[in-house]
């Protein structure tokens, strides 16, 4: 077996908390071939996507979802080869259905009705009729990593997997999916420098 293929059971989760389902990274270096024999090289940044169980309790009740997207302002200091990600607000968020009190919107702006119905499974199939809330900021109290986007300090995390240059992971998006009969699942996307 090639060196790059390893048993996932041996994956070094390090100090990462909770029940992680999957981890993947996607990185790239900004390259610009401006001359035939010279390529200008910019910073290398990446995203780390992590999926994990948000709770160890099987959900009973209606399905639910919550999400948030955090805007980071990026500025590059090429004199010192340093990328600065500047926190610029708690981010657009939405929540619908029953999320087991795992998440709540910090600042609700609007709410409206949403439906999801399909008779493809027969007339006895269930449909959902819920309220969706749109706003800014999300306070997430589930696992494996809880956070609040309301304050800068609560959306940066230690680099559990040692990706990139080892600097902090910055939460850029998150979504929580809660389905009846299943464990709630949290999906995180972090940005990092390499």
């Amino acid at each position: 077996m090639a060196d790059c293929c390893k048993l996932v059971g041996d994956f070094p989760v390090g100090s990462a908390p909770g029940c992680i389902i999957s981890v993947s990274t996607n990185s790239s270096t900004e390259l610009n071939r401006i001359c035939e024999s010279f390529t200008a090289q910019g910073p290398t940044t990446g995203t780390l996507n992590m999926s994990a169980y948000a709770s160890t309790t099987i959900h009973e009740g209606c399905p639910g979802r919550a999400s948030v997207s955090i805007p980071w302002v990026r500025r590059y200091d090429c004199d010192n080869d340093e990328v600065h990600f500047i926190f610029s607000g708690k981010g657009r968020s939405s929540l619908s259905g029953d999320v087991d009190n795992l998440a709540r919107i910090d600042e609700v702006i609007n709410s409206y009705k949403i439906v999801n119905a399909s008779a493809a499974g027969g007339p006895a199939a269930l449909y959902t009729d819920e309220t969706q809330y749109d706003g800014y900021g999300l306070i997430y109290s589930g696992g494996p990593v809880s956070f609040s986007t309301s304050e800068d300090g609560q959306v940066t995390f230690q680099n559990w997997f040692g990706v990139g240059d080892g600097s902090e992971l910055l939460l850029q998006s998150f979504n929580l999916t809660v389905e009846p009969g299943n464990y709630p699942v949290a999906n995180y996307s972090f940005v990092f420098t390499a």
């Binding site: 910019g42 805007p71 302002v73 500025r75 590059y76 200091d77 090429c78 004199d79 010192n80 340093e82 600065h84 500047i86 926190f87 610029s88 607000g89």
Partner: protein, 176 residues
């Protein structure tokens, strides 16, 4: 940031004529102090200024500009207004900020004219307010020295960081 909450930025403009070549090399720039204006940024406001707020009618505003924001009320505007200038010493800009921060990589632009005068523009990103300018720029094997002719500092919206947009008129160090 709440509705009708403003951000105060500042603009510095050197009161100067065009640089004049000096016999034997170099240039002279005659200056007559500098102007400093407060620029009031209003990301979301319901209050537009009255004509009477402008200097021509006894107020203290020089200009203002607003665009309507997409909102169900139809009455939210985003824009800015420029207050009347105060006159300051030319070199006050060099002590106006911390001198910290960094020059955003691709903001640096260097433009030469036929006389060898070099206009340089750049943006300094900093965590501290005030004019964070550089009096000297080193780039491409040259040292550019001269005067800041204009600078504008404003807070990056929704952050605690600041950007100073700077324009300088310079020559390379070997032309003195």
């Amino acid at each position: 940031m709440a509705l009708n909450q403003d951000i105060v930025g500042q603009r510095y403009t050197l009161r100067a004529g065009a640089p004049m070549p000096i016999l034997g090399g170099g240039f002279a720039l005659h200056t007559f102090m500098a102007e400093k204006n407060d620029i009031i940024l209003s990301p979301c406001t319901t209050n537009l200024p009255s004509s009477r707020d402008f200097r021509g009618q006894g107020g203290d505003l020089m200009s203002a500009n607003y665009n309507r924001v997409l909102d169900t009320s139809g009455n939210i505007f985003s824009g800015n207004k420029v207050k009347e200038p105060t006159y300051i010493d030319e070199d006050a800009i060099y002590s106006g900020g911390s001198g910290g921060g960094f020059i955003e990589c691709t903001s640096l632009n260097i433009s030469y004219d036929v006389l060898g005068l070099v206009t340089i523009t750049y943006t300094v990103v900093s965590e501290s307010a005030g004019f964070n300018v550089r009096g000297t720029i080193q780039a491409g094997g040259q040292t550019f020295t001269g005067w800041v002719t204009s600078a504008t500092v404003n807070q990056i919206p929704f952050t605690s960081w600041y950007e100073t947009h700077v324009t300088m008129i310079t020559t390379t160090a070997d032309s003195y």
